[in-house]
């Protein structure tokens, strides 16, 4: 496909009507993903990542603008697109529970018209690769979330797609399964230069580790795009600090604090783990004194290397979680 992007959108807009209100899930999204790329969409829940994936996988029509996969329009050329794509969604329990792992996979291979012998070889090989040989003849309904997701990964990759869409594929999975999936996706892409992956995630580490380029999406808009290094460079002049605070206090006051560009906070083990992005070091003392003045005890404090989440915080004023 010389000169053609694997995945492309121009002025892509999608609205939903809900109880008389019009919600804009995607706003004029322009995206170009090259062949061979592992492209990440990083954003919090509700940012529009899944909507975008649904449009690219022909499950949803755009409201305006266009989206193309391998040069084919998702609205009009589904027959050309479907044989070369596949997708995996995280955080769900999909699959025919009454069928065994092998039966489920075999059935899907037949829906893709893969010859029986080839299908069997691919299934066996991937079952082995995903380390679920011992589960091959177990019914899907008896599997754990992580085991089911390994089956889903096999279902998507065994059909020989050129472009794979991974929508939060490691959501809610244990560390080992997540690592296995990430490693497999990376290897799969490296085996053939014509393959492409579009990955959505709200795990910044995942995006940082896997992606060649990342688009940060917030409220249906692409707010930044570049390689992880390029994105992190955007905040090289800023200061990012991390701290653990006990007891938990409300950090809303940070929004109005001079020099603070944004913050993210989450509860971890009874403490508040917070990251604050500031214009420069001069705001650090104000932040620390502000915490103690509100009854928070700073358990640990560190100045950190900028992360993708800091980029997100700087751009949107809020965290990814």
């Amino acid at each position: 496909m010389p000169g053609v992007y694997s995945i492309e959108s121009r002025s892509l807009t999608r609205t939903f009507k809900s109880k008389g209100e019009v919600v804009e899930a995607l706003k004029e999204v322009d995206l170009s993903v090259r062949q061979g790329e592992l492209f990440g969409l990083l954003g919090p829940n509700g940012a529009g990542k899944t909507t975008l994936i649904k449009i690219f996988t022909t499950l949803l029509l755009p409201t305006s603008g266009y989206a193309k996969v391998a040069g084919h329009d998702v609205a009009k050329e589904v027959k050309q697109i479907r044989p070369i794509i596949n997708m995996v969604t995280g955080g769900e329990h999909s699959g025919y529970g009454l069928l065994t792992v092998r039966e489920n996979l075999w059935m899907f291979s037949q829906f893709y018209g893969i010859p029986g012998k080839v299908a069997k070889e691919r299934i066996d090989s991937l079952i082995d690769r995903m380390r679920i040989t011992h589960l091959a003849d177990r019914k899907i309904r008896t599997l754990s979330t992580g085991e089911r997701q390994r089956v889903n990964i096999i279902r998507a990759f065994m059909t020989g797609p050129k472009i794979v869409f991974l929508d939060e594929p490691t959501l809610g999975l244990d560390v080992e399964t997540s690592r296995l999936i990430r490693r497999y996706v990376k290897e799969w892409l490296e085996q053939d230069g014509e393959r492409t992956v579009l990955l959505t995630t709200h795990y910044m580490m995942e995006a940082d580790e896997l992606c060649d380029r990342i688009a940060i999406i917030n409220d249906g808009e692409i707010v930044a795009l570049g390689t992880p290094r390029e994105l992190k460079k955007r905040i090289q002049d800023e200061t990012a600090i991390g701290m653990e605070i006990s007891p938990e206090i409300d950090l809303g006051w940070l929004d109005g604090t001079k020099g603070v560009m944004g913050y993210s906070a989450k509860e971890e083990g009874g403490m508040l783990s917070a990251r604050v992005v500031m214009e420069d070091d001069s705001a650090v003392s104000d932040v620390l004194s502000g915490v103690t003045a509100r009854g928070g005890r700073i358990i640990s404090f560190y100045k950190d290397e900028p992360t993708l989440e800091d980029v997100f915080v700087k751009l949107t004023g809020r965290g990814l979680e």
Partner: protein
């Protein structure tokens, strides 16, 4: 291939929940129990008289109605099951196969499996001394026409169900109920009110049940339907079924566009 695989899938879903022996016993006991209940009611109502054409009419109509009921009932739920229970509709949809063809395959297997229960009831009928006079050629027509009609109606229903929440699956049951009541399955058209009779005569299933009685009992005993020739009761439902199949395909294309427009292919309505 998708047709064969979807038929296989339906067989697995129907049979895979238990051991083969239990599956066979269940599929014998279920229809037999329902049929015997009907026979018992007939026995009570007639004061113990088990002869005459009425029992044969009732028994055969009820047995063949199972093909309609079980298939339409099933079709009412298949889209919702794929979409919300198994959560695979989106994965089926983005595959190169035709989901329409897939539905035909699953409906066809459901029809075939219902045929197993029908066979059991036909055998039971011998024990109840139902006066069979089977015309094998017409019986083949019964299954061909019946399949075309049920699949046509079922696919039309599937299109509707793609646009509805889970409760929409009950439409299949309601439709089957209408056919039971108005098609002369067990209630002869002659006992229905005149204004209802006109509606009955517009239903392809009415002619199909008449075809069933001609094929299995040797003649049509119901006075309204006896006015039609055998050719008419073959051609009329066949023609309607072809129209239904065409309509269901066209509606499927429309529904396909609408579900993609509204984002309903992975909708969950678990309330």
């Amino acid at each position: 291939m998708s047709l064969k695989s979807s038929m296989w899938l339906q067989y697995q879903i129907d049979a895979n929940w238990t051991r083969p022996l239990v599956f066979v016993v269940y599929n014998i006991l279920r229809p037999v129990g329902a049929a015997l209940l009907l026979v018992a009611m007939f026995y009570v109502v007639t004061g113990g008289y088990m002869g005459g054409g009425s029992l044969a009419y009732l028994y055969v109509g009820n047995a063949f109605f199972m093909l309609i009921a079980q298939t339409l009932f099933f079709v009412g739920w298949v889209v919702h099951d794929d979409r919300e229970h198994y959560q695979v509709l989106k994965y089926l949809y983005i595959s190169p196969m035709s989901y329409f063809k897939y539905l035909i395959g699953r409906t066809a297997m459901r029809f075939l499996l219902s045929g197993f229960a029908l066979m059991v009831l036909i055998v039971l009928g011998y024990l109840l001394r139902i006066p069979y006079r089977i015309d094998w050629l017409l019986l083949v027509a019964v299954f061909l026409v019946g399949w075309a009609f049920i699949v046509g109606a079922g696919l039309l229903l599937s299109g509707i169900n793609m646009l509805t929440a889970r409760h929409g699956g009950a439409v299949g049951e309601a439709l089957a109920g209408i056919f039971y009541l108005l098609s002369g399955a067990i209630f002869p058209l002659s006992i229905l009110p005149q204004w209802v009779r006109g509606f009955s005569l517009a239903l392809p299933s009415t002619y199909w049940f008449s075809l069933v009685r001609r094929a299995v009992l040797g003649a049509e005993s119901e006075e309204v339907m006896a006015q039609f020739t055998t050719l008419q009761v073959v051609l009329y439902p066949m023609a309607i079924s072809m129209v239904l199949l065409g309509l269901s395909y066209l509606s499927f294309l429309g529904v396909d566009h609408l579900t993609r427009k509204k984002g309903m292919l992975d909708m969950t309505t678990t309330y």
